[in-house]
């Protein structure tokens, strides 16, 4: 059982690290030469990937998947709140500039 759990932690680390390396592909995907370009698609996907990573850390590394339902809902709710705040402030900011 111990080896199984270690393997699970290893897989979690690999997934999180791969998602981080995925940013290398996203970064500069819309840039022209050395000039960085604004992109809603890049911004939204970057924020969504970051929040998926946060949820994986909550559930797997911080063990909330075995936690009482209140803590699981609180942490999931917090990730949703972060998504709402970050994406909301980005789109509201873009609309009123």
């Amino acid at each position: 059982m111990s080896a199984t759990f270690n393997k699970r932690l290893l897989v979690v680390w690999l997934v999180l690290s791969s998602m981080t390396l995925g940013y290398v592909l996203i970064d500069r995907s819309v840039d022209e030469g050395g000039t960085l370009r604004a992109s809603a698609v890049v911004t939204v996907s970057t924020i969504v990937i970051a929040l998926i990573k946060v949820r994986i850390i909550f559930r797997e590394f911080m063990e909330t998947r075995h936690a009482p339902v209140l803590l699981r809902r609180l942490t999931d709710g917090w990730v949703l709140l972060m998504a709402l705040c970050l994406l909301g402030s980005y789109f509201v900011g873009m609309a009123v500039r």
Binding site: T4, T20, R37, H66
Partner: protein, 211 residues
């Protein structure tokens, strides 16, 4: 506070983790809060605090897109990726520390606690190297709005990593002697360290990658 030595109820295992089974619903293992609930209150509070600051950052960013994009070009994504993977590695090792301690493998738990401290140290050195690089390029706290946010966010996170060393010191102190071993304190320390890790994830995304 739960003392590991001489723990009470008969343990069951969930993915290699011993969990007390004195539940009413038979086969299902008991749900448990990892560490002290107070630490979870702190985690949620800190997350709210950082989220508020990220909102401020994104609103400022949308109002001055060109400046933020130009300044962002001076950051080295490779250092950001390296730092993120180092912190993820530290989270992985502290998770292994918790698991080993739960299973009574205290030597392995200590090794993983020291590994976590090592990764934290690598992060700090790498972060200082990046700051020095930026300062040499002429990008200081007063250069522009983007770098004010950059230095503020990275330094407040840096401070959390420093506090993390104290927390990991407590974890090592707990694990060192059989008389002191408390699984709950080990889990509480690990919860703090994971928070330092997951707060960095959006900071990295917002400073280095968003467009």
């Amino acid at each position: 506070m739960t003392n590991i030595a001489g723990a009470g109820s008969a343990p069951d295992e969930v993915d290699g983790r011993s969990v007390a089974t004195d539940t009413k619903d038979g086969d299902k293992p008991a749900k448990f809060v990892p560490g002290q609930p107070d630490m979870w209150a702190f985690v949620l509070f800190e997350t709210l605090l950082f989220t508020s600051y990220w909102v401020v950052y994104l609103i400022f960013r949308t109002q001055n897109h060109e400046l933020f994009l130009q300044s962002q070009a001076d950051l080295d994504l490779r250092i950001g990726v390296f730092n993120t993977i180092v912190l993820l590695s530290s989270s992985w090792s502290v998770a292994r520390c918790v698991q080993a301690s739960r299973e009574g493998r205290f030597r392995a738990a200590l090794t993983n606690a020291f590994l976590t401290i090592f990764f934290g140290f690598v992060f700090l050195v790498s972060k200082m190297f990046e700051w020095i690089k930026e300062i040499q390029m002429g990008n200081t706290f007063t250069t522009n709005e983007f770098f004010q946010h950059y230095y503020f966010l990275t330094s407040i996170h840096f401070l959390h990593v420093l506090i993390g060393f104290v927390v990991m010191g407590v974890v090592v102190y707990q694990l060192w002697s059989p008389a002191r071993r408390s699984q709950q304190l080990v889990e509480t320390g690990a919860t703090y360290w994971h928070t330092v890790d997951f707060l960095w994830v959006p900071i990295f995304a917002l400073l280095y990658v968003v467009r």
